[in-house]
């Protein structure tokens, strides 16, 4: 067990997982600045992967009635309605309406942020590390997939995920999450969500290429005056060793329900086992002392 396989930069997780001649690592770049919140990705994902319904309730909080990622929601479109932050430039997506007259839209002072969330397919995936059955595994594409015929529903992957992605399906007991359409990748196809996305907000491809493309896009937005545009999850030296699915966001990550500085829990695994070992020794030592002390005082009368 080498420490550098538990945290820190790791250029080729597929090869480290034992895949010889692995194809280039693939992933998603989700550019939320062009997301229109149509939820075609949610629908395409459900249809292709035959994911059951995830509740027909209305949340009452926004146009988002999906709520969040879960066992039966592998793509989730977040919808945020907020006042335009003071001093920030509006995103110049559409040319201003120059026809004049009463037709010009009034500035409501509000803005909508939309973002399609998905499993991050972490370089250091806590769900995979803690899985006791080997059900969760690293594919040759560098993605993380649950084997449904192995999972026994122990549920330890659920709290391990720093993004709250994987979940047990109550009616089934087993854990489910995005597979990055493992079956489609095997057939040389792109994942269903990326295929369905009408604005290319969801981009699929080799991770290195996506990172370059994302850097260009964020520069472009900064030049256009959108100073709040920032990438999230792209750095190979972040807490999970770089996300296989990363994002361009227009506000702080927590506004979208994303953790601002996630760290794979197994980074501290060595420390944890060490302290557990010391604690076990302390227990044994304390017990030994508990038998030794009365023996030393026994001449005064056995108790």
């Amino acid at each position: 067990m080498r420490d550098n396989l538990l945290s820190g930069p790791e250029p080729d997780p597929a090869r480290d997982a034992g895949h010889q001649d692995a194809p280039p690592r693939v992933g998603f770049f989700t550019d939320t600045s062009v997301c229109i919140g149509c939820k075609a990705c949610e629908v395409a994902c459900k249809e292709w992967n035959a994911v059951p319904e995830d509740g027909m309730a209305l949340t009452g909080m926004s146009y988002d009635n999906t709520g969040g990622l879960g066992a039966s929601t592998w793509r989730h479109v977040a919808f945020i309605e907020q006042p335009v932050p003071a001093g920030r430039t509006r995103l110049p997506l559409v040319e201003p309406d120059t026809r004049g007259g009463d037709g010009a839209a009034e500035d409501s002072g509000m803005r909508w942020l939309m973002s399609s969330d998905v499993c991050k397919h972490c370089t250091h995936a806590a769900c995979l590390d803690v899985c006791p059955t080997g059900s969760l595994f690293r594919t040759e594409f560098g993605t993380v997939v649950v084997q449904e015929d192995i999972c026994n529903g122990c549920g330890v992957c659920v709290p391990a995920c720093p993004y709250g992605v994987i979940e047990q399906r109550p009616t089934d007991g087993r854990a489910f999450k995005c597979t990055l359409c493992y079956d489609r990748l095997g057939a040389g196809q792109e994942p269903a969500c990326a295929k369905a996305c009408p604005t290319e907000s969801i981009q699929f491809g080799p991770l290195d290429e996506l990172r370059e493309r994302a850097a260009l896009r964020v520069d472009q937005l900064h030049e256009a005056g959108v100073a709040e545009a920032r990438l999230y999850g792209h750095e190979p030296d972040n807490g999970v060793g770089g996300d296989g699915a990363f994002f361009l966001l227009l506000d702080e990550p927590e506004v979208y329900g994303l953790p601002p500085d996630p760290v794979v829990t197994t980074r501290d695994l060595g420390t944890m086992w060490r302290h557990a070992g010391m604690a076990a020794l302390s227990l044994a030592g304390g017990a030994a002392l508990s038998f030794a002390l009365p023996a030393l005082t026994r001449p005064k009368g056995r108790r």
């Binding site: 920030r88 391990a160 720093p162 304390g286």
Partner: protein, 306 residues
Amino acid sequence: MTPGPPAARTDSYYGRPVIKAPAWSAQDIAGYFFLGGLAGAGSVLAAGAQLTGRTTTARALKVSSLAAVGLSAAALVHDLGRPSRFPHMLRVFKPTSPMSMGSWLLSAYGPAAGAAALTSVTGRLPRTGAAATAAAALLGPALATYTAVLAADTAVPAWHGAHRELPYLFAASATAAASGMALLTGPPRENAPARCAAVFAAVAEDTAFRAAERRLGSVAVTYREGRAGRLMRAARTLTAAGTAGAVLFGHRSRPAAAAAGLALLAGSACTRFGVFAAGIASAEDPAHTVGPQREALARRRTTLAQ
């Protein structure tokens, strides 16, 4: 990130949790933490009692350890989404998975505890019994403390944040439970070591818990409020009362020793259920995920700027 006037900022997505709390039932998993501790530490005290000729206590502890490990295995299987697939736990040997290591540990400890109890009760195969007693005593401390790693090796703020302290808290709580069982089931003339162990356990538990609270900072509130707060306060009271009762009256009166033992057992159970409840509460509130991560980011930025 962007310079400019401070704007109204929300710190979560409509107050929804960032991470997912485990779907484990408290009865099964907190119960498993308690029973595993009782069994493991009980085997250690049983071996000590055996070595020092306290045979009644030794036998009682061996039987209680077997019962506890049996119940804890049942709780684990019951909590699985697919109980029939329990054998999948032994498909791989995986040191990065505390659940895997625990399964292997249970499958080694269980038979040892069983053999120790059966040979002690029947009086047959004394050498096998001695070997099994020793094996259970060697594996017992690991069984009592690995569950702390099981909880801490997650993104749950109240558990992972205390990953250095939790194993000591669990070891102390397990010792309290086992000494309680020894006081409850053993005759007063044999219970001097149990009283001694109870004192050690109470002091260690209090120390470890205070250290965990200091380490957790703002997240420590999850151990003070709500269900977790009530359980942790009950645990402290019961453990203190049990220890005081054991020290003052445990050597004189069997009923007093038994009452003290029961209080210690209940205190240990409250600690485990309290830790469990604090973890759930911390996972369900996005502030406990976002807050400490924001602080970590700010600390890193300050170090970079210097």
